[in-house]
Subunit: 564 residues, 2 copies
């Protein structure tokens, strides 16, 4: 057992070390493969992933859990509209938590190096499984294949490795022991001190329905590295990719001789939810939550016995002040509204323009003309259904259609949301962006409308546009904001103003497409200074409280060897 784990640690050590450096430098780096090109993967890898997914449909997922009281699962593919027909263990929360807790001591006692070695090996195996993960993510979250492959593959593995690297660094900051020598009045005294890293307890990781791996992996690996057993509670409509990850993690743990209950799955359905049972369970010491702002706030207020990390959502703003050319700007924004049907937490929603227009060269583009250009860009982007399918994917949840219906009658609608016809999946749940014109301020846009909804909002001036955008970001939450300006002084004001409101901003993103893209090892995701979440992916604060330090000190020499 020790040998296998030692081998894992040694073989992954260089990558781990490089990841720790990347966290400090924060330039571009990834050890994982973002492209699904056949030349970069083993022969037949994509076909094998597809075959695994096809064979899994309509079966019992090969996973048993402690406290299993039956089977559960009611996932429906957003592409086919058909139930996946996959069932998972239904668990008794008490029994599951007991098993997770029982797995803690041996996992803790294995030590930092063994735990990190196992985590690196799990990451490696997940990386080898990216095609299977992509198909599972596509048919649960509704992501298009490319996003499911890259975003829920390499990009999510990056974030997992990043969380692991920070945990490793934070734990290494505490020496295993020290010798303390000084005089206390008389002769020199020597104390041998030992500092143990003690996990908090069981961590409940709640993954979301639209982008499960990206937020779950950092929490999973930060918790495992710091010796907290993980109960992974997937969104009821997005279980399969997480079940697959749990399966791989458990197999790796077992192979290394560890109790597989270090990682467990707590699946449920909307009809019979178990989330609150887990969150409020007396054994729950850590909560990592990705999901709605309202539920995140509820957890922050009510789960005070646990160490709580939330990543939720906000209404992300775009301030458009000026540009060299209009088309690249509206194309970039249009893509953000279309991409994965704006179900990413970094998707733009509220596009602020000055009432007297966006400066483009010597011209002023009026809000009306800007809206028209944006709508035109969206229409062009989605004209080809094949292309539309690749960009938009499918709607993860029917609730988005409710939102779109509710807003359809708004007097400011300049582009109606209609479905696009998916060329491969005629029953796919799809929607193209709804675009609405409004004037600042208006409560209609001062909340997140999850899904493809964009507002073009007139403000009295560019300063007012920035003021509204940043104040809303602070008050209603935001994860990523954007701005376009060719005026260096206004760009400086944009940076300062968003920073003073605790919100991040990307300026003049044109070559970085999609603008939504957030890079592990470089972008700090979520500031914790507005209602869009309290935790950052990934900084030291994300990991340092997951373990505590217990010290013992012993005076030497042992009194048995001397007469004092």
């Amino acid at each position: 057992m020790a040998t296998l784990v030692d081998t894992w640690f040694s073989s992954h050590r260089a990558r781990l070390q490089r990841a720790v450096e990347a966290c400090a430098q924060r330039s571009a780096w990834t050890p994982f493969i973002e492209s699904p090109s056949g030349t970069l993967h083993p022969d037949g890898a994509k076909a094998a992933g597809q075959a695994w997914f096809d064979a899994t449909l309509g079966t019992s997922f090969p996973l048993t859990m402690p406290g299993e009281i039956g089977r559960t699962g009611a996932e429906v593919s957003p592409y086919t509209g058909e139930p996946l027909g996959v069932d998972y263990p239904a668990v008794d929360p008490d029994a599951l938590m007991r098993a997770a807790k029982a797995a803690l001591p041996s996992w803790r006692d294995a030590g930092v190096q063994a735990r990190v070695g196992v985590c690196m090996e799990i990451l490696d195996r997940l990386a080898a499984d990216v095609f299977a993960n992509a198909f599972a993510t596509m048919h649960t979250a509704g992501q298009g294949f490319m996003m499911a492959f890259a975003g829920s593959g390499a990009n999510s593995l990056d974030r997992g490795l990043e969380g692991l690297a920070y945990a490793y660094k934070a734990m290494r900051d505490v020496p295993e022991g020290a010798v303390f020598e000084r005089r206390f009045g008389g002769a020199p005294v020597r104390l041998r001190k030992r500092y143990r890293l003690i996990p908090r307890g069981v961590a409940v990781v709640i993954s979301c329905g639209s982008y499960p791996a990206w937020n779950a992996y950092p929490a999973l690996f930060a918790n495992l590295a710091t010796a907290n057993p993980v109960v992974l509670k997937p969104h009821p409509e997005c279980i399969l990719p997480m079940a697959r990850a749990v399966q791989i993690a458990r197999a790796t743990l077992e192979e290394a001789g560890f109790d597989p209950n270090v990682v467990t799955l707590a699946a449920d359905t909307r009809a019979s939810p178990i989330t609150k049972d887990l969150l409020l369970h007396e054994s729950t010491a850590i909560i990592d939550f990705t999901g709605s702002q309202a539920f995140g706030a509820w957890i922050e207020t009510h789960c005070t016995a646990a160490d709580v990390y939330t990543e939720t959502a906000g209404c992300n703003a775009v301030v458009v002040e000026s540009a060299v050319a209009l088309d690249p700007v509206v194309d970039a924004i249009a893509q953000s509204l279309c991409l994965f049907s704006a179900q990413m937490c970094t998707a733009a929603q509220n596009i602020f323009v000055p009432r007297d227009g966006v400066r483009v060269g010597e011209e002023r583009v009026s809000p009306a003309a800007f809206s028209e250009a944006l709508v035109g860009a969206i229409d062009r982007m989605l004209a080809d259904p094949q292309h539309a399918a690749g960009i938009c994917g499918a709607l993860q949840t029917d609730a988005i259609n409710d939102t779109l219906r509710r807003l359809a009658d708004h007097p400011g609608v300049v582009r109606a949301s209609v479905p696009y016809a998916h060329p491969a999946y005629p029953n796919a749940r799809t929607a193209t962006p709804l675009v609405i014109r409004a004037s600042a301020p208006d409560s209609v846009y001062q909340q997140e409308h999850f899904g493809p909804v964009g507002f073009v909002i007139e403000a009295d001036s560019r300063e007012q546009a920035l003021e509204h955008a940043s104040a809303d970001a602070q008050q209603f939450g935001s994860i990523a904001n954007y701005a376009y300006s060719v005026d260096p002084r206004f760009c400086a004001a944009i940076e300062d103003t968003f920073a003073s409101r605790g919100s991040s901003v990307g300026i003049n993103l044109l070559g970085q497409r999609p603008i939504n893209f957030t890079a592990a090892f470089s972008d700090y995701h979520v500031t914790g200074l507005n209602p869009a979440g309290n935790a950052c992916l990934t900084d030291l604060a994300f990991v340092t409280r997951r373990f505590r330090i217990v010290q013992s000190k012993t005076e030497e020499p042992c009194p048995a060897s001397t007469t004092s």
Copy 2:
């Protein structure tokens, strides 16, 4: 302005760097002077401190505050029984918080190096003021002069520097910026990223009545370094040393050209408390609390909008299994019961012995004989009033006498608590240890009795003694536990058992006297795994959440310089 602050940073840089190293190595180190010996301090330093204290009695403390609505203060010297007669600003919490908040932007924008330079300079000035601080602490907290000088002087400054060093290290972990270059499909894209450290907001630091500087300094400097203005709320009976520290901090800030309201004082009295107004204030972003377990728990549960750090109290245990000689062991424990009248959070309270006796060589010392030896050691230690005064100091609060009266009739009393006659202060509020015999388990000792109270508790066996001690530590809280054994296997069990219960332990402490001593840069104080507090002095977790990271990223070259 910049020049002075730069000079400060440069002149203190070597000490800061050494402190960062000390935090990582955790062996013995201090840059401050623990001894009041005249040869180690400027001529007349002690006399000047005494003169300052004498001249301060019966005056208005020379400090004004924003939002001042009058004067307040009702401190009484535990030594003389007389009011100090010192008054301080009484403040309107709203106005004070507004002023603290207004001081934030310029302090934040000064940058890490400037803030840390100012903090190092404040520490230096506090170090030059240790005699004044000692007299102020003595006549408010009730500490004896030596403890007030060393414990509330060098030892507290160490903890402050330690908190500062961790904050510095954590902030340096975030680069100021990065260049991010990669391809997004087409040509390489270059993003200039900037990572700003943003403070949470106003920090309310609540210092305790018995040991104000030791816990307040780490919080003060960790908050200041990370740009959070500090409202220092001292215990109503222990304002003077904190007012002095605030005065020095404000003078240093002003000299450097900063808004002095970066550090403010919020004094009150028991009759008109303002603590909850501050804790629940909408501008309060961070709370550092030292005080009772009950109030700490209330804060943890109710102040969910703030980032909360608590250091409270517990019932610390001693497990006495065996020894080479009995006298050194009972002397060490007796001292812990006497020292500062057991008003330290690391004082022993519950002394567990096996029913069949403590092994000493070939002998077994019965619980009765052990109690007798302990009482004898206490009596010997306090026989000389001069010596007793040096060890015991005075009782910080009258409430301890209530405790002693309540327990005086317990049938297990083997040593009654009587005052000792202080040779210099005939009206000093003093008490010697009350010692009570009990059998495990008994609710009488399963709580902290603040003050000089010790229980000698019989357990069925040494294993049961360890079991009771560690289980109580976990359930009722403990900050420091102790054990004596010459059996290496039992010592290992002691370490493992306390660690598994989330509590620290010191084994065979004999040469380290007092056993209560906790060294900054070496001892991790409070585990956060039991009810004695959620924060550790000092680890990375103590500092990493005090600031957040806001990023901006800008695509380069600027669009104004190109046609895209």
